[in-house]
Symmetry: C2
Subunit: 159 residues, 2 copies
DNA sequence: TCAACAGTTTAAAACAATTCTAAACTGGAA
DNA sequence: TTCCAGTTTAGAATTGTTTTAAACTGTTGA
């Protein structure tokens, strides 16, 4: 079935497969430790979603998108749960939300300090490593507020 | 009627009023010239919206917001037209769209190079003058793309 | 082992912001 | 004036997300 429309190839093995059968060895170890880390109960759905999210390297994913991936992976999860989970993960620091357009928000599995290119009109996000942007002289926040984070989004187009 | 809920006081006079009657003298001069500038037909609705937008100094406005302002100013415009107009103005460079959250986008009457504080959870936008942010070392855009613009949004909260 | 309950998931409805549609209207050229 | 492309409109449709209320499931402690 060569119809990987989602774009990302998910690497399933955490240990080397030892024979021709592509049996996964300890596929949930990472997902489990992440959930424990932030104190979320490791339910079937959360585990599966965590695996999809964090086993695939750095990804920029929408809710619909992840829901589709779950479907393809034969994981039964409702869209509402996908939303719940994405927000719980975001709130506990496992994910970062990146807003690029009205009605368009991505969840980024890379929570380290970095910025983004946003390719329009494709709607594609591309990471920019921290050290290739230098922000000097940040302003002081308005009275009574504290700085939470700085988002730099460089909008680019294909001419 | 002292119920100016929208927050912005719009200055109507472009010339001094000459008697006690608050009759506006050339209230549409600026709106008209802006529309001509970008080649949009000066219709009743566009003129009225342009006036609301550009006579009030720098503003961050949502579509619903502007629709409400029009209502209060006794201007009959549909919400669909407000959206159309905001996008036409944006496309022709009269406005700039600032996206801060999923399903939350503002139109900024200040089209000069500048950045924003976004105060959460109030959802309030505050201008940052260009020269109080210094961006050095910008990355080169992905192959086949050209840089359109750089958005810096500093998210702040009231603790 | 099991009862019990808080936490979780779910389908479905509700919601908010925005866009679309098809018909009515209008500014301006001829 | 007439005419027509451009514009506006009400209302429906769409999109993305959240809420609701009921069913389910992990975990705890007897």
């Amino acid at each position: 079935m060569p119809d990987d429309q989602t774009g990302k190839t998910v690497t399933d093995r955490t240990l080397q497969a030892t024979d021709s059968t592509p049996v996964v060895q300890r596929p949930y170890a990472d997902a489990l430790s992440r959930l424990k880390q932030v104190g979320l109960r490791p339910t079937r759905q959360r585990m599966a979603l965590a695996k999809l999210l964090f086993d695939g390297g750095d990804q920029h994913i929408t809710a619909e998108n992840l829901h589709g991936m779950a479907r393809k992976a034969a994981v039964k999860v409702s869209l509402a749960t996908v939303y719940n989970t994405l927000h719980q993960f975001t709130d506990s620091g496992l994910l970062r939300e990146v807003v690029v357009g009205p009605g368009r928000s991505y969840f980024d599995t890379n929570t380290h300090d970095h910025h983004h290119f946003y390719v329009e009109p494709a709607g594609e996000l591309v990471d920019i490593p921290v050290d290739s942007v230098e922000l000097s002289r940040l302003p002081t926040p308005p009275d009574g507020t504290v700085m939470d984070r700085v988002d730099v989004i460089i909008r680019v187009t294909r001419p």
